[in-house]
């Protein structure tokens, strides 16, 4: 019994690692584990089912991510893996790992702030420039190159930058 359990937990860990290594096609420095999109890996015999949660309802990257997970698991030796989408609890940027936030900043994208600031209709937002760290920044557009980002500009170094919106 003990050996079976060990084998299962070892298999599950392998499946988790394989799925966790899949990156967001739009922000390839972030894995789905960094993003908090990977919710669960369930092993049933040799079959594996991965639960992911969508970031934005219409985010086109989700289909791609599901496909990449299947490919990664097949490569790791799991046959006909399944990917299930769970809606509840709803994904929030609060689930993004500290490591993920650092990777984002190093990549030139300002990481999301705490979700408490999201509600203010015209609340003052301050986002530090990921290039030079200055707080003298301004919002250019609430919606950026992907669903999850807004476009900002730094008034100190004059660089425009993406901000990963809190959600």
């Amino acid at each position: 019994m003990v050996t079976v359990l060990d084998r299962d937990s070892e298999l599950r860990r392998r499946a988790w690692d394989a799925a966790a290594g899949v990156v967001d096609p739009e922000i390839p420095v972030l894995t789905i584990a960094d993003l908090g999109v990977l919710r669960d890996v369930v092993l049933d015999g040799e079959h594996v089912e991965v639960a992911i949660t969508p970031t934005y309802s219409g985010c086109p990257a989700m289909n791609m991510i599901a496909l990449e997970i299947e490919v990664a698991l097949e490569r790791a030796g799991f046959h006909q893996p399944k990917v299930r989408t769970v809606l509840s609890p709803a994904w929030t940027t609060d689930w993004m790992s500290e490591e993920g936030r650092e990777k984002l900043r190093a990549y030139g994208i300002a990481p999301p702030q705490a979700s408490s600031s999201r509600r203010a209709l015209f609340g003052e937002q301050s986002v530090a420039c990921p290039q030079c760290g200055s707080d003298r920044t301004e919002l250019l557009s609430e919606f950026g190159s992907t669903s999850c980002k807004a476009l900002w500009r730094c008034k100190s170094c004059r660089e425009p930058f993406d901000y990963f919106k809190c959600h």
């Binding site: 969508p54 934005y56 309802s57 219409g58 985010c59 086109p60 809606l87 509840s88 609890p89 709803a90 994904w91 929030t92 999201r118 509600r119 209709l121 015209f122 250019l140 557009s141 609430e142 919606f143 950026g144 190159s145 992907t146 669903s147 476009l151 919106k165 959600h167």
Partner: protein, 258 residues
């Protein structure tokens, strides 16, 4: 058109879901019409992003409707193979884009409602609807902020932008009442705690829009006569034209997949 329309067994819950999904799909499609045509690049991206959110919400709710119905239908069939009279969306969301002010006023009226509505729906006793609501309310908050900022910019901008924004408000106002109307089937769902009574949200909606409209130096019409019909499948002439474009591929090449 070669393909027959599907039939949908519209139990109160299926009908409820179709109404919400149709709102999101039709408004999402309208906004997508701006893609490549918006007055500036940032706004092109914003309207397309919002369209994506709405179409994503529609997909979730259609899938749920299909599951509740328990027949052969799925999200694609519900979107592509129902005709005008089978669509249950608000008249507001099918109104043409018009000028930029008209698009943004329509967006503002709807987003101010969706924001409050989905937040309230997070308490639904139906786990799927509550989960969809929890996703949608976050997105709606951004949509509302975006539209509100534009209302203020247009209303408190030039004489021309002010006049166009006011004209759009006057024109679209009569379509806002339908958001708060409830029929008997939906009343039963409300009593069961499955859905929220939108009528109870009208006061808060009015406060939200009045604050912004006041700041924009615009005024709300005094006329309270409201047009209805969309929820029962009686639409303006515009929806048929929209659907002919939205559905053309599936109608021309039945069962087409990419």
């Amino acid at each position: 058109m070669a393909v027959a329309n599907i039939q949908v067994a519209e139990t109160p819950l299926v009908l409820y879901a179709l109404r919400r999904a149709d709102d999101a799909l039709i408004l999402g499609h309208r906004l997508s019409e701006w893609c490549g045509h918006a007055p500036m690049l940032e706004e092109d991206m914003a309207l397309s992003n919002i369209a994506l959110d709405l179409i994503g919400q529609a997909r979730e709710v259609y899938s749920y409707a299909a599951k509740v119905e328990g027949k052969d239908n799925d999200e694609d069939k519900l979107a592509y193979l129902r005709d005008v009279r089978q669509y249950r969306n608000l008249l507001l969301v099918e109104q043409p884009n018009g000028d930029f002010a008209q698009t943004l006023v329509r967006q503002f009226f709807y987003a101010a409602f969706a924001d409050i509505y989905w937040r309230a729906m997070m308490k639904s006793r139906d786990a799927t609807l509550a989960a969809i609501a929890a996703k949608s309310e976050k997105e709606s908050a951004y949509h509302l902020r975006h539209a509100s900022e534009w209302i203020i910019r247009l209303g408190d901008g030039t004489d021309e932008s002010h006049a166009r924004a006011q004209e759009a408000i006057n024109h679209l106002w009569a379509f806002t009442g339908e958001m708060f109307a409830v029929d008997d089937g939906e009343r039963a769902l409300i009593d069961a705690g499955i859905v929220v009574d939108p009528g109870t949200l009208r006061g808060r909606w009015l406060t939200t829009i009045s604050d912004v409209i006041g700041e924009a130096k615009l005024v709300l019409p005094q006329n309270d006569w409201m047009q209805q019909g969309g929820r029962a499948g009686r639409h303006s002439e515009h929806l048929g034209h929209l659907l002919s474009e939205l559905q053309s591929m599936q109608r021309t090449f039945p069962g087409l997949t990419w």
